[in-house]
Amino acid sequence: MELWEHITTFFSAENYTLFIVSIGSGILCLAAGAVGTFTYLRKRALIGDVISHSVLPGIAIAFMLTGVKNPLYFLLGAVVSGLISIWIVDYVQAKSKLKLDTILALTLSVFFGVGVVLLTKIQHGGNAAQSGLDSFLFGKAASMNLLDVKLFSIIALVNVACIAVFLRSFSLISFDESYAKGIGFNVKLLKGFLALLTVMTVAIGVQAVGVVLMAALLITPAAGARYLTNSIPRMLVISGSFGFASGLIGVFISYSGAGMPTGPWIVIVLSAFALVAILFGKKRGVFARRRVKKNNHIKINNENVLKDIYKVGSQGTKTITINELIKKEKYPPKLLISTLKRLEKIDHVGLVRGMIILSDKGRLAAREVIRKHRLWEIYLSKYFQLDADHLHDDAEGIEHVITPEIEIELIKLLERPEKDPHQSEIPY
């Protein structure tokens, strides 16, 4: 109940500012999640890290020049120093033998070092307004005022709008840069524009999570979203929503535990979201892939058993008993029984008092597997040098993988053969 009270106070009217702040943080994280989708897709996670660290000197210089904590000036400073860092990375990479990872680490640490020098200079300078500048290290959303939040939200929304408008172009350069160039896109301009959006997002995002953890805001929600969908627009939406929710929850937690920095909590919440997506993603998730593997084995067992039943049948002994099949010792009895039960369920076989009767559907399926097996043997023996005694083993594995399209292609390529290399008929 205490928690509930907590939540109600959090959203109550007295806490109007806090409410606004949390919504503001949510929007910042939303923008980061959206822009970060492209950072992730373009495999620039570590560059995101560099940009995040590199905005610090810009912010400090902005403060030193103006002497006030105006978010607009901070933003300007951050954007300028962020862009400079990207430019340095690109330039040094092009002009020296240094490898990217060295340049990234060096740029990141030097920019951050300069930032720390400036911050300590400001602190020791005794300017009354300096307090709170170090919240840029780990983020303290609560120190934002209403004006900040309004400004950042506007920028975040502009960012999101730009992404919506340029969705096609950005998707294209993330997918295949050289192709995009080939069909006449101005890739350089687009990349520059995307970099600008990224830097702007980082510049406002550091308000919520601080420079050290900003990279997570870009990458983690996008990585999680990737496990839930294959479409870029959907990825943007999911990643943005992850971000928004984490921003909200992060502020809430840091408000509850007094003195807690916001950034780490947002990152922890985000990571939890991502982990859930990585584990439970419908198609790409860890469990989903495990399921697919299991289904593969089921398919292989089904088809193998079906094939054996069919072969016995076409050799004259019309039906076969379960015991006879067990005696062949090809499968562990337990596995065989469960496979047969499954086949019965999908009407491929009928099981009557220990007898196995192949249905028409089952017969067709069995013929299909045998056909694929034999086609594959012909294909291998025709185009490859392979000992005859290896053909069968090989086809035993591949018969389950050949899709209808590949089968049609094989039949065409081999000109609809009648017999396989062992002179067995091919059942069409």
Binding site: Y379, F384, Q385, L386
Partner: protein, 259 residues
């Protein structure tokens, strides 16, 4: 005249992730010959050399050298990796690189002896690079880099040489120099296995050919294997089905063998 077998691959399958790079490859290579390994890009040529050399572990099957496990005869085999796989901006001199050829004999912790140094000098001389021994490797041309690698392999003093594209990025003069050196080595009783790309020179360079396209398309004496039919099969579109099946295996996470 058929020479005894020096390298044998049996049912060799190498899978990266789920995608096969080599698939059920079976062959035997004859001793004391110049053997070419050819096939389109990505057909598994480098992977083949790497699995013979124990650089990648086969997923199934095995290879043997001198009818033994590689570990028994490692000191008789020299390997020249693909030049593109190396960072040539590495801070090292030609001498440093060629002396690597002696590490195996001398171990990683003992000093190189005067004998080792003689061997290194000799190897550099053989490839006409002695004058460059102090040179930094970043200042070498493509052909010179290739020759340094060759010298390193010679310094290992093996009997069997596996070379990954020693003619890539090399001008005609250097190529001729290298090939005549290789033929000389063959006369001296060495066996050379060479990954090669140029179909025009294949017939004149190689006694024996292995044609790959993920699977083994053909392996045999050059005059038997170097036919229009087989070459079209290796390089033509007939084998796209293999690629599609590989893709299926990868996408659907199918096991390559069900046993």
């Amino acid at each position: 005249m058929s020479n005894p077998t020096i390298v044998e691959a049996h049912n060799l399958t190498v899978v990266y992730g789920r995608k096969p790079a080599l698939w059920n490859v079976d062959f035997e290579l004859p001793e004391k010959q110049v053997i070419g390994i050819m096939g389109p890009n990505g057909s598994g040529k480098s992977t083949l050399l790497k699995s013979i050399m124990g650089v990648v572990e086969p997923t199934s099957g095995f290879t043997k050298v001198y009818d033994q496990e590689l570990s028994e005869v490692r000191d008789r085999v020299s390997y020249v990796p693909q030049r593109q796989d190396i960072d040539w901006d590495f801070p090292a001199s030609v001498w440093d690189i060629v002396s690597m050829g002696r590490f195996q004999k001398r171990g990683l912790f003992k000093k190189l002896t005067a004998e080792d140094k003689d061997i290194i000098t000799e190897s550099l001389e053989k490839v006409n690079m002695l004058g460059f021994s102090k040179r930094q490797i970043s200042q070498l041309s493509g052909g010179q880099q290739q020759r340094v690698f060759l010298a390193r392999a010679i310094a290992q003093q093996g009997d069997l040489f596996l070379m990954d594209e020693p003619f890539a990025g090399v001008d005609i003069a250097t190529e001729e120099m290298i090939i005549s050196l290789l033929k000389e080595m063959k006369t001296a009783g060495k066996t050379l296995v060479i990954v090669h790309h140029d179909l025009h020179t294949a017939q004149s360079y190689f006694d024996h050919l292995v044609l790959l396209n993920t699977r083994l398309v053909a392996s045999g004496p050059t005059q038997d294997v170097f036919t229009d039919q087989i070459l079209t099969d290796t390089y033509g579109g007939k084998l796209t089905t293999i690629a599609k099946i590989s893709q299926e295996l990868e996408n659907k996470e199918f096991p390559i063998r069900y046993k």
